[in-house]
């Protein structure tokens, strides 16, 4: 792992591919976050809402995406984390997490970040500004 401060425009952080999404992942996130909206955990409620099945909390995926930056907290921290939720994440989807440097200025590194499903569709997209000490 090289220092984050040495990253140049176009450089990437090591991508992560998550194991297929399980119901237990979402039950755990519901409990840990306090978001008990039943479309994330109960099939019947998701169907009533017009969905083909339960969907992941957008915030679960956003939470996962931030771990690309976790190894770098001795160098700095996430100052801005902006995400647009683009697509739904279903059970058994395989989500991959990506970050690429878009801008590098004194003390700040800006990344384009996204999470994709197995069809290479963005499920969420945004940016991270990492402030270095």
């Amino acid at each position: 792992m090289s220092a984050i401060a040495e990253k140049q425009t176009g450089d990437t952080l090591t991508s992560i591919t998550l194991p297929p999404v399980t119901r237990l992942d979402l039950i755990k996130y519901a409990g840990a976050s306090g978001d008990y909206n039943p479309i994330h955990t109960i099939d019947g409620e998701a169907e009533k809402a017009g969905l083909p099945g339960i969907i992941a909390h957008g915030m679960w995926t956003m939470g996962n995406l931030s771990k690309l930056f976790t190894p770098y907290y001795e160098e700095g921290f996430i100052e801005t984390y902006q995400i647009r939720f683009r697509g739904m994440v279903f059970l058994d989807d395989v989500i991959s997490l990506h970050a690429e440097v878009s801008e590098q200025t004194e003390g700040k590194i800006t990344f384009n970040v996204n999470a994709k499903n197995q069809k290479e569709e963005d499920v969420l997209k945004g940016k991270v500004v990492f402030k270095t000490y």
Partner: protein
């Protein structure tokens, strides 16, 4: 239908960044890194204690906004932005509140959508701002009709 709520806010609520809550949260997003969960690693870090993941403020209580009654079902989370002055430290108290920043209605394919922007804030015990959390929530026509009924 939420135009009147613009500018309204909640009262501050004291939250604690609880060690167990941070551990569970980090685990639930597959990020049980020592900086979040290992006490020794926290002490040895530049922060002198463990910190919380950036999306942890989802856990906090921001209080109720009088007159803003959002449906419990059918809301779509459109966008989320966190802005930090520094990371949250495990064990500290954070005072949180929220405010309605904006509400617009926009015609779309499946009827008129309501777009509600909320901004949560958290400050430490000295009253220094630690983070802002902006949230854009989409309320579909079907859900709004359900509320009016």
């Amino acid at each position: 239908m939420f135009e009147e709520a613009i500018g309204k806010g909640s009262n501050k609520v004291r939250n604690t960044v609880e060690r167990g809550a941070v551990r569970k949260f980090a685990d639930s997003i597959g990020d049980a890194h020592p900086i979040f969960v290992d006490e020794e690693a926290g002490k040895a870090s530049r922060y002198g204690d463990n910190i919380a993941p950036p999306t942890f403020p989802r856990v906090f209580d921001y209080g109720e906004i009088t007159g803003l009654n959002l449906p419990s079902k059918g809301l779509i989370h459109g966008e989320q932005i966190y802005h930090y002055e520094r990371p949250l430290l495990v064990g500290e108290d954070i005072h949180c509140w929220t405010e309605v920043k904006d509400y617009k209605e926009k015609a779309g394919k499946s009827g008129t959508m309501g777009i509600l922007s909320l901004e949560g804030k958290g400050e430490d015990s000295e009253g220094t701002l630690v983070f802002r959390a902006e949230q854009v929530v989409i309320i579909t026509e079907a859900v709004r009709k359900g509320m009016e009924a």
